[in-house]
């Protein structure tokens, strides 16, 4: 247990089965959640406005689409816009690109994780949930290399296990937990 380390930011990646997982996870996040949480969820070409609304309804924290050039605020959950890669700049603000797809997807979890790791290093907590491809695994590897903390959903517990399996195979994790225990763990770090 190293729950006393100070976490400045949480990044979370998921795809197939991810929306259901977030609907179960977000209601359990503490209202005292101090960092910001940035999500890449492969939700198709449609916008994420509806998803923000649905997740906002079950969460005590506000849920918004990440806006280009804005800096994320503490205690807010941000979703990457559809069709763009989302980066966190070294100075802390959001940036977008329409560079080629990574692991066949845009937004890419790897890209968010790598840029957030460069910004927050050991004060970053990264979470990989249910999903159907390998996106996120390389990003998680980079997060761990820079001293960040990694939580991967137990593949046996995930609706679609490929993404957490790839993350564990390529990056490993500090914690492998069922969904029901992930919120508690995040709250220990972040409240």
């Amino acid at each position: 247990m190293s729950a006393r380390r100070r976490i400045e930011a949480v990044v979370l990646g998921c795809s197939a089965g991810g929306v259901q997982a977030m609907l179960a996870l977000f209601p359990k996040l503490s209202v005292d959640f101090k960092p910001y949480l940035i999500v890449v969820c492969h939700a198709g070409a449609e916008g994420v406005e509806l998803l923000c609304e649905v997740l906002g309804r079950v969460s005590a924290l506000p849920v918004r689409e990440a806006a280009e050039r804005d800096s994320p605020q503490p205690g807010v959950i941000y979703l990457a816009p559809a069709g763009y890669h989302l980066y966190l700049e070294r100075e802390g603000q959001f940036a977008l690109s329409i560079d080629p797809k990574v692991c066949f997807v845009r937004p890419s979890i790897d890209i968010l994780f790598e840029s957030a790791a460069a910004r927050h290093r050991s004060k970053l907590l990264a979470v990989v949930l249910s999903g159907a491809n390998e996106d996120g695994a390389r990003g998680l590897q980079y997060v761990r290399r820079l001293g960040g903390y990694a939580i991967v959903q137990d593949p046996e517990d995930a609706a679609v296990p490929q993404m957490p399996e790839a993350a564990l195979r390529i990056a490993g994790a500090d914690d492998v937990l069922p969904l029901s225990e992930i919120a508690t763990r995040i709250n220990e770090f972040c409240s």
Binding site: A67, E68, Y87, A95, L96, S97, I98, D99, A118
Partner: protein, 275 residues
């Protein structure tokens, strides 16, 4: 700063000193990713090795410029925006005897041909001149050819219909083997030219400037500088269309642009500003 960030800054310096290309005001996170892709593709190991190569090997430069500029678009990308241009901006443009349109950062030309098709269908193309510019000579050449793969063409045809196209997109191309070539006639009023938004000045007197998903790669400082350039290039009441997730609220020069259709990121110069 860690070693890689230092290497990146030295690479940017070297490109400027050796070749005159200035990426100093490019947003760093995506630039770093693209430069690292170049390192990987050229099997050079580190950004430092890439810097050395770009300083000593003149012939390597086009590959570097192509890698950093990474043009990705589609015809009628975000079709609802093209629909808004046709429905809301074209009727205003129709009131001018001659129409100038500048597409800044045209990459492979997907959007410039999209625009030409919609202008043709609106009966405006014969009195329109489109200037399509980019700083990358290689992509300008590709854009001029107007050839796309059949694989891409399927998506483009769907986008075209969603954008309110009046025919089917195949009306405008000839399919040959795995490729489609756009009708030569679409090029009759397009001028392709090299223009670098970072270094070059006012290009023309435009009624509409399209610059979609180009400024997202720039820092706030360079974004503001380019928005000033656009203001100085537009006629009074001229239009500016940006990418549909772009924010311009940090730019002082953006204050002279009024929201015309916020969702479509179409702006209009105020009545007291412009040529």
């Amino acid at each position: 700063m860690d070693a890689e960030d230092i290497e990146l800054e030295l690479f940017v310096q070297a490109l400027k000193l050796r070749h005159g290309y200035d990426f100093g005001q490019y947003a760093r996170a995506s630039l770093k990713r693209r430069v690292n892709d170049l390192v990987k593709n050229a099997e050079l190991g580190t950004i430092g090795a890439l810097t050395s190569r770009v300083v000593h090997d003149e012939a390597f430069l086009p590959q570097v410029i192509a890698g950093i500029s990474v043009p990705v678009s589609e015809m009628f990308r975000n079709p609802e925006i093209f629909k808004a241009l046709s429905a809301e901006v074209f009727p205003v443009l129709a009131s001018y005897p001659h129409i100038n349109i500048w597409q800044a950062g045209c990459a492979r030309g997907e959007e410039v041909y999209s625009l030409a098709i919609l202008l043709e269908e609106a009966g405006l193309y014969d009195r329109t001149q489109i200037y399509a510019t980019d700083f990358n000579d290689h992509v300008l050449h590709v854009a001029q050819e107007g050839i796309f793969s059949v694989h891409e063409a399927r998506l483009y045809a769907q986008n075209y219909l969603a954008a309110g196209g009046k025919h089917t997109l195949s009306h405008y191309w000839h399919a040959r083997y795995e490729r489609v070539k756009l009708d030569e006639r679409l090029k009759r009023n397009i001028t392709f030219a090299n223009h670098n938004l970072v270094a070059d000045g006012v290009f023309c007197e435009a009624h509409l400037i399209l610059c979609r998903n180009v400024l997202i790669y720039f820092t706030n400082t360079l974004q503001d500088q380019v928005l000033g350039l656009f203001r100085d290039s537009l006629v009074r009441g001229g239009f500016l269309a940006l990418g549909n997730k772009e924010s311009i609220h940090f730019s002082a020069n953006a204050r002279e642009f009024l929201a015309f259709n916020s969702a479509a990121r179409i702006f209009r110069l105020g009545p007291s500003v412009g040529k």
